[in-house]
């Protein structure tokens, strides 16, 4: 079965979507990512969509679901590399992707992910003082 590869980098998982995904492939990615987060105890997920020429409501919803599911599994998600034409189209389509952290490229995404993860760590540390 066709699958999108998930790379492990320290405590982060890295996904580069390089194919025009059909709906089932998108759902498989969602399942794979959640199980990999638990398996590797990952704290962050970086999804690179820079080669995606189109994001429709299905893929947009999938990205939002991944971010929500990851959060429940104590991992942060950053989506990077959205093309300007995709951003313009998404907003006109009516999908504002609220609740999804984004960054311009992988490098900035990694910085954002590290910041987000250390933020949740500080929260946990504060909580443990009681």
């Amino acid at each position: 079965m066709e699958r999108i590869p998930i790379l492990k980098m320290g405590e982060f998982l890295l996904v580069t979507i390089q194919v025009d995904m059909h709906d089932r492939l998108a759902l498989t990615l969602q399942d794979d990512l959640t199980s990999q987060i638990v398996k590797h105890r990952a704290r962050g997920v970086l999804i690179d969509i820079s080669t995606l020429e189109m994001v429709d409501s299905f893929i947009g919803r999938m990205l939002g679901s991944i971010a929500s599911m990851a959060r429940l599994l104590d991992a942060q998600t950053v989506v990077v590399g959205m093309q300007p034409s995709v951003a313009i189209t998404l907003v006109e389509l009516g999908l504002s992707m609220q609740g999804i952290r984004t960054a311009l490229d992988v490098e900035k995404g990694m910085v954002a992910l590290q910041a987000a993860v250390s933020e949740t760590r500080e929260d946990t540390d504060e909580g443990s003082e009681f």
């Binding site: 025009d20 020429e53 409501s57 299905f58 998404l90 999908l95």
Partner: protein, 134 residues
């Protein structure tokens, strides 16, 4: 308005949605659409192709290169013989869905197109036509 060429595609599975997106992209590029215009019509085609499959039980799409005396454009006509839509105005409302989606397919595709037409009769099916001019 004159139809310069026309191509029909089957819509049965989620792989067909990908094939339609690719065919629409190719036609839009050939017509000289800019990148944003390409992305808009490709995205609209993806939404409507999925509607045809998920709600119409499958159907067809007709890809037509059209022109009038001033400009050329791309028209996509999606047709199914599914259950049809009882209340078209309701179906065109953002966020309204009878399925599990986000309810942006019809309303969003309308916003992404220059011309939009929908005909639907309960029990007979649905035809949605969108046109984007160059």
């Amino acid at each position: 308005m004159k139809v310069l060429n026309s191509e029909a595609m089957e819509l049965r599975s989620s792989e067909d949605i990908v094939l339609v997106r690719q065919a629409v992209r190719k036609k839009a590029v050939t017509l000289g659409f800019g990148l944003v215009d390409q992305t808009k019509i490709v995205t609209a085609s993806s939404e409507l192709a999925r509607n045809t499959i998920d709600y119409g039980g499958g159907g067809t799409v007709q890809l037509e290169v059209v022109e009038n005396d001033r400009r050329s454009g791309l028209r996509l006509v999606f047709e199914d013989h599914g259950p049809g839509i009882a209340d078209v105005n309701m179906a065109l409302t953002d966020g309204y869905t009878t399925g599990s989606g986000m309810g942006l397919g019809l309303s969003g595709s309308k916003r992404l197109s220059h011309e939009f037409e929908i005909f639907s009769k309960p029990g007979q099916g649905t035809r949605v036509s969108i046109l984007r001019w160059k």
